[in-house]
């Protein structure tokens, strides 16, 4: 059978990159979800999300590896601590800034990133911590999944199990958040608060409690992302926040207020990244491509694909 080729590369590789891109993109979507939840409720863009992820993952590591608790208990405990952390962050750092200009909240979340970095360095040090959730009894990583496509694509497609898990976690998170925002009383009041703070307050919604809740939800999403990321590549205090930075283009591409936008944006960035990595080079894919997409979005359509249009008046 003749080798199938797409733009100078074997077809099965291109298909593999596409699938890997979707799976990697699901990771970005998961990060983007956390960012969107906070932005929707309180119009704050959380630059410290990557560090929140890292802290969530490291908490799980501390309970699972250090204390030797069962996995599900460790994950739940990490979520619980993350919720407290999220509420604390909102109460102490962002509540006093309500009504301040955008720059102040940007700087506050950047300062928060530095604070979390300092805490991580102080408690866990600068070395990466592997989180072997997907390991078998002997502590070896699970073998990658192999799709028998050699017959019609010219080669087998190999997928990492941890990426499949991130896809599942993202799908669950997306489903849960969609249902939450559509069918629960709290979710609906959060959407109302996102629409207009003053209006929401005037019909009796507890806007401040809603901000706190948004941070708590975002902290859980971040911790989940951190655990999945840690299971895949280990919890590196440099690599994890850098990975979260690559999810920022995903949020802007999808639209800052849109949860489906976060999913679409994340998957798109993932595919663009792996395709560029495959066709050009890994550094171009990881360090350049997401940010070129970001520049294009900002120049062509700053509100993103599903974001709200803003009209300005003097």
């Amino acid at each position: 059978m003749a080798d199938l080729v797409l733009f100078g590369k074997p077809l099965f590789l291109a298909v593999q990159w596409l699938l890997t891109g979707l799976l990697v993109g699901s990771m970005y979507s998961l990060v983007a979800l956390g960012l969107v939840v906070i932005y929707k409720a309180s119009s704050v863009f959380n630059f410290s999300h990557g560090w929140l992820m890292l802290v969530g993952g490291l908490l799980c590591w501390a309970f699972f590896q250090d204390q030797g608790w069962p996995l599900w208990v460790s994950i739940l405990a990490a979520f619980a601590v993350a919720v407290i952390l999220g509420l604390l962050i909102e109460r102490v750092t962002l509540r006093p800034l309500i009504g301040q200009p955008v720059l102040t909240t940007i700087m506050m979340t950047l300062a928060l990133a530095q604070l979390l970095q300092g805490i991580v360095m102080l408690v866990w040090g600068a070395n990466p911590h592997p989180l072997p959730i997907f390991a078998d009894a002997a502590g070896l990583p699970m073998p990658p999944l192999k799709l028998p496509t050699a017959g019609f694509l010219g080669g087998d497609i190999i997928l990492k199990v941890q990426l499949l898990w991130s896809f599942v976690v993202t799908a669950l998170g997306f489903g849960a958040l969609t249902l939450f925002f559509r069918f629960t009383r709290t979710g609906l009041s959060m959407r109302a608060a996102a629409e207009d703070h003053q209006l929401a307050q005037s019909v009796g919604l507890p806007v401040r409690r809603i901000f706190g809740l948004a941070w708590a939800i975002a902290a859980i999403v971040a911790a989940a992302a951190g655990i999945v990321q840690g299971a895949g590549t280990g919890l590196d205090p440099i690599a994890v926040p850098t990975m979260a930075l690559r999810a920022f283009p995903a949020v802007l591409l999808g639209g800052l207020e849109s949860i489906p936008g976060a999913i679409v944006g994340g998957l798109t960035i993932g595919v663009v990244e792996t395709m560029t990595s495959g066709y050009i080079s890994t550094s171009a894919g990881q360090e350049l491509a997401p940010f070129l997409v970001l520049m294009l979005v900002l120049i062509i359509k700053p509100d993103g694909l599903f974001g709200q249009k803003r009209i300005e008046r003097i």
Partner: protein, 368 residues
Amino acid sequence: MAVIRPSGIYDVNYEQDMALVRTPALKVAAAICAVIFFALPLFSRDSPLGLEIVPLPLLGTLNRIGITLISVQGLNILLGYTGQVSLGQAAFMAVGAYTSTILTTHVGIPFWFALPMAALTAGVVGLIFGLPSLRIKGFYLAMATLAAQFIIPWLLKNPLAQWTGGASGMEVPLPTLGRWVFNTDQSMFYVIMIPVAVMMLAAKNITRTRLGRALIAVRDNDLAAEVLGINLFTYKLRAFFLCAVFAGVAGSLSAHYTRSISPDGFDLLDSVWQLGMLIVGGAGYAVGPIFGTALIRLLREFATFITPAMRELLPGTLPFVDVASVDRALGPLFFAVVLMLFLVFEPRGLAYRWEILKAAWRLRPFAH
């Protein structure tokens, strides 16, 4: 806040009203301060006078403060006066550093000419990344400059690796003038502090001209400024250009001071720290960057200074602490806490407090 002038001192013409140093007493004081400041290296170790009053580490600290100060002052023009956020200042510094290094090593141009060329190159790159400011502002502009912070180091590492030495960086030659080689903290003090003085004066004067007033109008309400006849796009671009020029000068000086550069030496955290210095010092005040840069830099030196003591102390009090990385934790922790306190309690920064203090001094013994 209205400018409160000392009582009994009157201006009789426009020149007096616009003067930076307004009274004869102040002129003398300023001159004495300048002379003492520029004579500091003469009283350090190995100096021709043979005195050892000023410790060398102090000069090193002052040099580092000076370099950062130029860059933060550039950021002040962009953020404090024009109201445009930039997270890419360190990347523009990288452009200046690399331009200067490439010109001195590959082309053989002396440092003294490479410095202005580096400033111009950084300015042009700043213009390119300022282009989106036509359509977007606030948070979105911060994102566009964040992209600069990734795209520029990538360009330096990959397509330009032939000239820049890629990720491993390159060695930077020392500035020389005739038979003098500027290789000590004392001699570099002059190489750094003269541009610092020039750039500080330039920044102060820019904000007092038509350009500066237009920039302030853009900051206060951009739509209203446009209605007044200010061309938003060109003025925003000028602010970006100036901001990047300052960064370019700082980058070039920092390259020749530290003598080696790498693309990772100018990362997002540096940009964030410079923004923090500006906020702590007071954005929109010409003296703000001086306060902020000095405070944060000294805090960082303090963190390094107490690290050994903390290594002894911490394991006893907080048993879960990882002692090995205390030095990497304290700097960010101090910075974050100080920045947060300022954001919550005094978002206008130290310079605003300084203005209040000056007014109170002039009004004493009255309260208002």
